[in-house]
């Protein structure tokens, strides 16, 4: 009479498969997130040129970061302040600037794609951060070195809280969640 003592061995394989599949899924998911960190913008606006080469201060365009919860996205008028005169040095630049001129001519807003966002239940406010001397780069990275802005900080809760604690800021939940 055969004795099947080793049947349990066969049950290991499916378990491994399940774990493996979930690991693959996680990796793929992460890769997808990473792609979304650098979204394609309607105009290929180069922070590297404006901030890196031209040294325009952040607050020139993001005009309300020091007074409001919103940093402020520059209206087309702000762009046109220079681009009425600056047409671009290369063909590629000229094409992109032409797009801008198109928006300006139609008086429509440029539909920028948001790079840095927090969930709806997080009440982030730029003003106190700017006032406390947190530099823009600490959260947004060195945008002067980026062609297209990508998200460098994880913007996770642990990341926020760690910085808050390091700087002696409040780690009370109701500072951000209400």
């Amino acid at each position: 009479m055969p004795i099947h003592a080793s049947g349990w061995r066969r049950s290991i394989l499916p378990i491994l498969l399940v774990f493996g599949a979930s690991a693959c899924e996680r990796t793929g998911w992460k890769a997808q997130i990473a792609r979304e960190d650098t979204p394609v913008q309607p105009i290929r606006f180069l922070h590297s040129v404006h901030v890196g080469i031209d040294s325009i201060p952040c607050a020139y365009c993001h005009y309300s970061a020091n007074v409001s919860e919103e940093a402020g996205i520059p209206p087309v008028g702000t762009c046109m302040g220079c681009h009425r005169f600056v047409a671009g040095t290369t063909d590629e630049f000229r094409t992109e600037i032409q797009k801008l001129l198109g928006f300006a001519a139609d008086s429509t807003a440029v539909p920028w794609v948001r790079v840095h966002s927090v969930p709806a239940f997080v009440q982030f406010n730029h003003k106190p951060h700017v006032r406390a001397g947190v530099t823009c780069a600490e959260c947004h990275g060195n945008v002067g070195a980026m062609d297209e802005v990508s998200r460098v900080a994880p913007l996770t809760m642990g990341w926020c809280v760690t910085c808050h604690r390091d700087r002696g800021a409040s780690d009370d939940c109701s500072v951000c969640h209400y």
């Binding site: 009479m1 055969p2 004795i3 099947h4 003592a5 080793s6 049947g7 349990w8 061995r9 066969r10 049950s11 996770t156 809760m157 642990g158 809280v161 760690t162």
Partner: protein, 456 residues
Amino acid sequence: MTDITSLRSGRAQAGVFRRVNRDVLATLQRPGVGWAAMMAIVLTVLGIGVIAEIYQIKVGLGVAGYVPPIMWAVYITNFVFWVGIAHSGTLISAILFLFRAQFRTAVYRISETMTVFAVMTAGLFPLIHLGRVWYFYYLVPYPNERLLWPNFRSPLVWDFFAISTYFTISSVFLYVGLIPDIAAARDRAQTRFRQKLYGALSLGWQGTDSQWRHYNRAYLFLAGLATPLVLSVHSVVSWDFAMAIVPGWHSTIFAPYFVAGAIFSGVAMVITLVVPLRKAFRLQDYIDEYHLDRLAKLLLLTSSIVFYAYLVEVWTAWYSGSPYERAIFWDRAFGQYAWASWIMYGCNCIIPLVLWFKRVRTSWFWMFIVSIFVNIGMWFERFVIIIQSLAHEFVPYQWDYYNPTWVEMAITAGSFAWFLMWFLLFIKFLPSMAIAELKELLPPRLKRQKKEMETA
């Protein structure tokens, strides 16, 4: 140096042993039509319950009948009910093991599987009842990106620990007990599927002296650990209520009162399950009136404790002078929920009084009836404690009345189906009586038979 008597008695014993094997393993034969029909019904009901749950997750908990301030209702009632059911299993398998109560041998496997499946059923309800079940892992203490931990002051976290420990220990306990019997099934398996199944599950058990030595020791320790555990789990469940300030909940007697109630309801459920099972599998020789009588006495004892607890509750409320407590118990007896309260008092205190009669205690029919009433009564006990207390709390502006909806009823029915599904699977695929232990401690009828064979 073998004398003829010992040889004869050895033969007799082997014959009885073979019979035990044959009778118990006969339950594992190919499922019949009856079993399949039952399974079909059970799966249908379960399917309806699953659909109701999916609907509830999609639309929101509002599809259940909750009426603030009654924020806990039938789901928590079911949770406590099923946890309670679980308890008698461990009582019979662990506590009575420690007490060497021999009548447990025949029924402990059934009660133990009942424990495991009841905990599996109970464990669903805290999830079903969550507003955002998809975030249930917030209750699990693990290092996470948010740097947050659960609140160990909350009785719900205690509950999480207690229930998961209880589930782990009782399933391990069940499985460890099963191993030698699975090995026996393996050695008699007819089909390839069963050979493989039992081969895998028996882990290569051979019943050698050293295996038995470690096994017996570990079994003892598991029983020893499960004994305080079983008392603690329902105490912790009772603290979900007793730690709150809700009048009708905030009471020091809740822990012992709940434990007694749990065993009471669990024993009733064992009887409810054993009566038809014995008949279906022709196990009359193994489970007889002797067992029934013992179980009935246990039922009577716990019923008396529960009765006493009810009286003490009322007395405490009156003697405390707290207007809220008094109002709750007045309302319990004469208010909107009086119908539920009197079902509870009737089924849990009055009906079990018939168990004082031996004729009832040894009647399969009457015991089955009584056990059904006790099951109903104990479900309503939880219903009354939870819902009626919440309905008449401190602020009279927020007094209200609750009715369950079809979703709650479907999920409740589904939970019974879920429990029965596992139970039906179990009795067809695993030995529902402890073969090895039955051989060690023969039930009275088998003993008689053995005697007869020896003298023959």
